[in-house]
Amino acid sequence: MFERCFIFPGLKSLGYESGMSMPCPVTRARRIDLQISRYHEGAVAAQARLEIPPDCLQFRTWQSNWNCDLKACGPLDIFVARIVARGTDEEPPGLGELEAQMLFRHSFGWTSSLLTGFVPLRPPGYKFASIIHTGHYFADRSAYSSSTIFTNVRSPADGPAAGRFSVTVQSRDGTQLGQIERQIVANSALVVALDDVLDECGVGKATPHEGFNLTFVGGRSQFSIMTVFQRRDNGAIGLEHSLAPLYYIPQLRDAAVRSRVYGRIGSKA
């Protein structure tokens, strides 16, 4: 059966508790649960099954509601939520397009959120295409940190390694400043902090560049990508999900166009 899940990272390292909110009308006339798994270092460390009230408009829950205290989590833990029919371990049919809101709450009460779609949960052995993402928006480095967070999910039967990213750093004018690699652990989060990447590339904080492009290519998993800015003085954040290549080239839905584009990327990578 085709299954979907909603994946979101723990942001413990930024001082935030995670949660999610999803619409309930899809669940009307059915008894449905929300199953949330916490993955620690790629393996399921905890699981909870929450009953969705049949008549609510929106079901909103925080990790403390599923017995997942922030202190018990690792910095790269992720959460994977699935909708399952009550009494079974199957996704009920006919749910249609699904999207949900990932929530992040600071201990001072500030909340940030992202509205995004469920992603497909691929069967073991599925061959994933490399992802391509360019981070071109950054905040003033003296006052804010900038990080790109890659959350991935795939079948644990495919092993713990989910490939690697090459991260190419360019200045605003396109001059290449360096390239590094990052290993990706399956069912985990990868936090790529701009400051760390620049240090590794030998581009010191004093280097007078007005900004950077970070282009990520690689990976063998289903990813959810977001960029987070965090104030260095009080910890407030701003975040947004990335835009998949389909947003830039809508005809990637066409297999012939997809093959032509990815063939060119592969030959130049």
């Binding site: 408009l57 360019t134 905040a139 954040i237 166009v257």
Partner: protein, 282 residues
């Protein structure tokens, strides 16, 4: 009365939208066939909110997406930006050019070289040029996506807030064709000092927008507000602390639009008592 599952009253609006899409498709076909003469086919322009007030200023970030997704060819992209005030009046326009592999993050007021209104909308369309236009045209229309950053100013204790854009700026008027959207979001308003909804009207006629706030558990209606938004303008609904204090528990929303505009995702700003502000599209 319905026609093919749609209200008959929506036919003028839908017909007009379909005609506009037909014109776009025809232009795309011509551009795909003769990119050397008419330029590469692109979708857009796309629309987004700007703020230029006591809390936020606005920067826009562009990059050469063709260098990323179609490497090995030299591409240049001109991003054409137009800016309007809250009433939909044109303020100015400008161009941001990015060369091969390049990007640019520029304050909006610098792009249009004009003082901005406190808030309003702007629109962006990419005009790419390439050394191999036949290959780029063969992959169909591309879209110059951009990121909008609301950067805090003055005493605001926020981090820069980021929103993406992929809703079309509509040059055409959209006729009366009411639609209700229930966004898949909920909000806990218990700690908020203020909640603001910025409603973008991407088309040429005045839009009436209705906000209904409901209790997430019982679906009971807690609050209703209406705002009129001029064509190509922006309307704001402010819910202040005394209003929010009457709302209990997480709340959900219904949006009523009196015409089927392309942008049905108002931008929401939450303000906390200590000055932190967060934002996302709904």
């Amino acid at each position: 009365m319905n026609f093919r599952g749609r209200p008959v009253s929506h036919l003028p609006a839908r017909g007009f939208i379909a005609a506009a899409h037909w014109c776009d498709r025809a232009a795309t076909s011509v551009r795909k066939r003769f990119p050397e003469w008419f330029g590469l086919p692109v979708l857009g322009p796309y629309v987004q909110l700007y703020r230029h007030d006591a809390t936020f200023d606005t920067e826009v970030s562009f990059f050469n997406y063709l260098s990323t997704f179609v490497p090995g060819i030299e591409h240049h992209i001109d991003y054409r930006v137009g800016c309007l005030d809250r009433h939909g009046r044109k303020l100015g326009s400008g161009v941001v050019s990015v060369g091969p592999g390049a990007s640019a993050q520029v304050p909006l007021r610098q792009i249009v070289a004009r003082e901005l209104d406190a808030y309003g909308l702007f629109h962006v369309i990419a005009r790419p040029r390439s050394n191999d236009v036949k290959f780029v045209a063969s992959i169909g229309e591309t879209t110059g996506q951009f990121m909008t950053l609301f950067t805090p100013v003055g005493p605001a204790m926020a981090a820069p807030q980021i929103v993406h854009s992929h809703k079309a700026f509509q040059h055409i008027p959209i006729f009366w064709s009411p639609i209700t959207r229930s966004p898949h979001v909920s909000e806990d308003v218990s700690q908020l000092q203020e909640l603001e909804f910025y409603v973008l009207n991407p088309q040429a006629l005045r839009l009436t927008f209705g906000l209904t706030v409901r209790d997430c558990s019982s679906a009971a209606v807690l609050l209703q507000r209406v705002v009129q938004v001029p064509g190509h303008g922006v309307g704001v609904l402010h819910l202040d602390q005394p209003t929010l204090s009457k709302l209990t528990g997480p709340v959900c929303f219904d949006y009523d639009f009196d015409r089927q505009v392309s942008h049905r995702k108002p931008i929401l700003f939450r303000r906390y008592p200590d000055g932190v502000v967060t934002c996302n599209h709904t």
